[in-house]
């Protein structure tokens, strides 16, 4: 019996499954960045006007 991997339908299924899980991985990557942006946008923190590392502009961050 030839192994079913030679079967075109099996090949299509392999490609579909691989793409599906690849897309799921990309979705998780994008989703967590988007969630962070949304959360960041929802905080009413002041925009820093001084170069970072000066220690100023942190008062309203929390």
């Amino acid at each position: 019996m030839a192994f079913p991997v030679d079967d075109p339908e099996r090949r299509r299924r392999i490609r579909r499954t691989a793409l599906l899980f690849g897309l799921i991985a990309v979705a998780f990557y994008v989703a967590f960045i988007v969630l962070s942006i949304v959360r960041h946008a929802s905080t009413d923190a002041p925009t820093p006007t001084l170069p970072r590392g000066t220690g100023e502009g942190r008062e309203g961050a929390s």
């Binding site: 192994f3 499954t17 690849g22 990309v26 998780f28 967590f32 962070s36 942006i37 100023e56 961050a61």
Partner: protein
């Protein structure tokens, strides 16, 4: 004529490429599995050498050998190398070798992707290791890369981020390959609930990988943009929140712990029945227990960060959900113990490592329960107690699991039997020294010694000395492992096709030496049924 043609056909199919092309262009699952395992072994010794530097410095109080910055680089790099360079590639190597053999498939479903997944790794770790030589030294903020500390890294920072992206890509592609292989390439008749537990454990691990490695990639991408492109995801000065990084990191980090340990559950579930000469007790409950542990791993992440401050309801939720993991884990320990009950036990090296796994991983599990208790965690947080806990989970847990697997399947891979006396020496030295190394760290942590420091108060000296002696003993005894494998491959006695008389599974139905290509003709249902006697 027909026979001759068939033989010629088989001979053509068993042709294997020679020289460097065999490895660089490898698409054979056995070759790629071997490359993963060799790479993992190499990283294990490089990461182990870093651990020796750490323990050497901590042998007595005061600064002896390295400056604090380099010490912190060593702790950070040791963790990154051991997690992403040693344990994860070793599991992928075992998956590559074993999954096609165990499910009756001729190869992994996506062989070229398999090659690509592997060859990403040497580049990733070359980049990571080369950070030790750039201005400012290697990353020193801990493997968790918490901002704002990690954002203050020198030239190594973007290199580490790039290396982590590459490792993540490799893991995700490897996981996709495993899932696709298991879902589409099983031999006819190999139903899901006929699959060996190692295959089940890897299927669930692969789902975890797909879900959480992109989260780590997202977190480090945001670190990168915070550092170079003016975003302030985690920078308080711009309204960002460093604690959010911890949430995102541990949403990856806790399932990662299970990524490192679940395949060991699978291997131990193969070995204990083989050396007890009994079917595994409660096969289906083992599957459900692994799946439950994997599910629970997604809802416990904040137990790593109780001390950052969170509402009482959050503390209670994460404490109780963490404790809930003890239930399916207890089911597994119960099933392994019950499998051995009234079995005809023998104690060859794979069984010894599996039993050590059972006892010592349980110690790590119990200290994990202690850490789950919020008020107690406030005391233990960032002390050596935590170091002791996760090393009990990862060394006699994951590493012993890998060693058990290698000792179990090595006679199949090489068609030769290794020196079992030497392997038993390896086991006993490892089992003794791993306890000398890590058990005293519980006392140090309970007495208040913080982790990630190169110097400590003088009252911690004695246990640190004992722990360092354990480390040197453990490190030296690991040199036996590659020697045993090398000796076996070169001059081991021929092994039978079924190297262990109690072993079941399709891989043991194949002849020894293993043909370069296996299961080109799918195994019969009778053979699958015989292999699936669990």
């Amino acid at each position: 004529m027909v026979d001759h043609a068939a033989t010629a056909h088989d001979a053509h199919h068993d042709h294997k490429p020679h020289g460097w092309r065999r490895w660089v262009y490898a698409t054979n699952h056995k070759d790629i599995g071997t490359m993963y395992l060799v790479f993992a072994g190499l990283m294990f010794f490089v990461g182990g050498a870093m651990a020796m530097v750490i323990r050497l410095e901590l042998f007595k109080p005061g600064l002896q050998f390295v400056d604090p910055q380099f010490f912190n680089s060593m702790t950070t790099m040791h963790a990154l190398l051991m997690i992403f360079g040693a344990v994860m590639p070793a599991w992928t190597g075992l998956a590559n070798w074993q999954i096609p053999l165990m499910v009756g498939a001729p190869d992994m479903a996506l062989p070229r992707l398999n090659n690509f997944s592997f060859w990403i790794l040497p580049f990733a770790f070359t980049i990571l290791l080369s950070t030790l030589f750039v201005p400012g030294g290697g990353p020193a903020g801990g493997w968790t890369l918490y901002p704002p500390l990690s954002l203050q890294g020198g030239d190594s920072f973007p290199m580490v981020i790039f290396a982590i992206h590459l490792m993540g890509a490799s893991s995700i592609l490897g996981a996709i390959n495993v899932i696709v292989t298991i879902l589409n390439m099983r031999a006819p008749g190999m139903g899901l609930l006929r699959m060996p537990l190692f295959v089940w454990s890897w299927l669930i691990t692969a789902y975890l990988l797909i879900a959480v490695m992109p989260v780590l990639a997202g977190a480090v991408t945001m670190l990168l943009t915070d550092h170079f492109f003016g975003t302030t995801f985690f920078t308080a000065a711009g309204g960002g929140d460093p604690v959010m990084f911890q949430h995102i990191f541990w949403f990856f980090g806790h399932p990662e712990v299970y990524i490192l340990i679940l395949p060991a559950f699978g291997i131990v579930s193969e070995i204990i029945p083989a050396f007890s000469r009994k079917p595994i007790f409660g096969y289906e409950t083992m599957v459900y227990a692994i799946a439950s542990i994997a599910f629970l791993s997604f809802i416990v992440w904040a137990h790593h960060m109780f001390t950052v401050g969170m509402p009482l309801a959050g503390q209670l939720f994460f404490m109780l959900s963490t404790m809930l993991i003890a239930v399916p884990t207890g089911v597994k320990v119960f099933n392994w113990s019950t499998t051995m009950w009234k079995g005809s036990l023998t104690f060859e090296p794979p069984m010894l490592f599996a039993l050590a796994f059972l006892f010592l991983f349980s110690i790590g599990g119990f200290s994990g329960l202690m850490l789950a208790i919020v008020p107690a965690d406030f005391q233990y947080q960032d002390t050596y107690f935590v170091v002791a806990h996760f090393h009990y989970v990862l060394v006699p847990g994951a590493i012993f699991g890998i060693m058990a697997g290698v000792y179990y399947w090595l006679p199949k891979w090489t068609s030769r039997m290794y020196d079992q006396t030497l392997a038993k020496w390896h086991f006993w030295l490892s089992a003794i020294f791993v306890n000398v190394l890590f058990f005293p760290q519980h006392f140090l942590g309970l007495a208040g010694m913080p982790r990630r420091i190169p110097d400590y108060a003088v009252q911690f000296t004695d246990w640190n000395m004992i722990s360092s002696i354990g480390a040197f003993g453990f490190g030296l005894s690991q040199l036996l492992f590659p020697y045993i494998i090398w000796k076996c491959a070169r001059a081991g006695q021929p092994a039978e096709a079924r190297a262990w008389d109690g072993a079941h599974g399709l891989e043991w139905e194949l002849p020894s030496p293993l043909p370069y290509h296996t299961w080109e003709t799918a195994p019969s249902d009778a053979l699958i049924a015989k292999g699936a006697e669990h």
